[in-house]
Amino acid sequence: MKKRSKLYLFLNKESSAGVVFSMPFIIGFLAFLIVPMGLSLYYSFCDYDILSPATFVGLKNYINLFTNDQTFYNSMKATFIFVIASVPLRLVFALIVAMLLLKSTKLTGFYRAIYYLPSIIGGSVAVAVLWKRMFAVDGVVNMLLKSFGFAGDIAWLNNTKTAIWTLIILAIWQFGSSMLIFLSALKQIPTELYEAADVDGANSVSRFFRITLPLLTPTIFFNLVMQIINGFLAFTQSLIITQGKPMDTTLFYAVNMYQQAFGFNKAGYASAMAWIMLLLIGFITLILFKTKRFWVFEQE
């Protein structure tokens, strides 16, 4: 029996292979996520203007954010309005379209691709620029409205009431990813349940509310959590389309953070903002999970 070296034994253990294969991810995770997060936590307690080294100031940034900064509250408000308006509407549209595309006819594959397309390209700068042109005073939307007889050139992007809705509509338009998840969940609902309901004389409305919806609640929950988190992190649309105007009604939290860090050279302040958002999203997710048992159907 040959004596195997320790190294040989180590390299050939099952777990070693696993560790080695996950090393690229671990290194990336540490280098690009954990280390920067730690640095950002440190900077949040400092005055850091990027051009010169950071100086420790304790809780000053956090105190200033809550007591001295109107823009902070404006951006929170704008982001909350965005999330509260866009997430439910997005899920509703995703569910409706998913139900419509449930039956496999010849064109369903094509339709599914078409509806999914916006969610892939929607987050891009190109679409944001396009959206901005569309809603401009002399853009496509106004032209269409005029051809249907509605009066005048409405300045969608400059009106304090409507500007945020252009961004909300852009977010809703990207419902494709949620729709696909709903589709796969819908397909998993056992057809025997529907047949049993038919036998009992249920119409399609009660079929939907009593069978489909309850069985979909886990998926709805998943989509809700994911979309809320994404909603709070929205950035590109606001930066490109409106830059936060008019009057901070479209100033998303992430855009405010970006302006503070790179426009005013207050990276420490912006880091404090980042950690506040992290805690806020964590808290909201926690509440969602804790209230899960009240409305989400758990498979035994």
Partner: protein
Amino acid sequence: MKKKLRKSLALMCAGALIAATITACGGSSNDSAKSTTQEGTTTIEMAWWGNQTRNERTQEVLELFSETDSSIAVNSQFFQWDDYWSKMSTLAAGKKLPDIIQMDHSYIATYVEKDQLLDLTPYIESGAIDTSNISDTIMEMAEIDNGAYGIAAGISSPGLFYNKTVLDELGITMKDNCTMEEFIKIAKEVYEKTGYTANIISSAHGVDSDIWSRTHDLQITEKKLPASDSTEYTAYFELLKSGIEEGWHMSPEYITDSASVEQSPLVYGSSPETMIWCTVNGSSMLTAYQSAAPEGVELGLTTVPSDDPSKSNYLKASMYFSISANCENVDEAVKVLNYLINSEEAYEILLAERGIPASTVIAESITPLLNESEQKVVYYINDVVAENCSPLGPADPDGSSEVTDLLNKLEEKVGYGEYTPKQAADEYFTEGNRIYEEKQ
């Protein structure tokens, strides 16, 4: 035996993968190294902000430079104004600022304070940078704490760009050095007869508020607002409010992203209700505005209206070329810098895109080559402003970008009717001072 071989092979592949990942992540930062590469050529990095015309011309000039001096190659990067500054601060944090960077009057004090720029005085004194043809007033503009931190790339002045074609049709001539009263009369007439509005306050460049501040002795020279109380600012906001209420000033509803010349309502739009007939910007932008203007529209350039033009008019360096403090090949960078300031063949290409060249010799030699717009600018700078202006004053202190943003937000609020002029003035005074205090 086979199983063991496969496993070891798999482990080796995984190991190679990790090694490749680490090299790929670490290697890219070494590629843009500024140290000598093969055949003893030094690579200099240069960055600037600008538009299409500037980018093309500057790159041509840099290639021309490499032909004259083959031991130096210049790599260039260019951005839009906003992206440029966020990119530069990130690079500065990693001590990787490009060797030669374009600098602006509103940022240079901040960068010098944080030791990011090289003092060029020894190179000027030794003659490595030839500044004999640049007037002292202009050299002084980049002097901070007795060090020269940049060389003016061109001279410009704020100006009022107006749609000459529309005014000609109405039979109105725009006089140089007109007062605010005269301007408002003209603006009202244009609005009543054509529907075009004016934009002299919300142009989001701070240039117009600068003019107003100078007229009223409220120029910011140190880290605090110079007014003794907020009432000194009320008149500014009242001007904006009355302009919008009376209709001759553009309302905030139609202000689009004014950072891009091509989308400015001066040149872009389908009907007078959504367009403006005049706006305020730096004089060197005339070429860009004129090229973006539709066929048949001629743009004119004159002084920004003010109650005391000789006080408010000023000449400034449109931008500076500076060398970063972390530059490793300073002598080579100095050579490139000298070429960019003094070479006649370079300016045959660059012409007056960055403003009138600082060197009087160059300015004279290129005047016959300039197109109509650029000649208008030369006339404006040399014959209109230079005759009737006062000195520039020190560079904007650290914190000014936040104060300017505050001013823009307050202008918006007054424009939308959310704030009265008095409220806006109060907030500007208290918040502005607080911002500067934090930066002391």
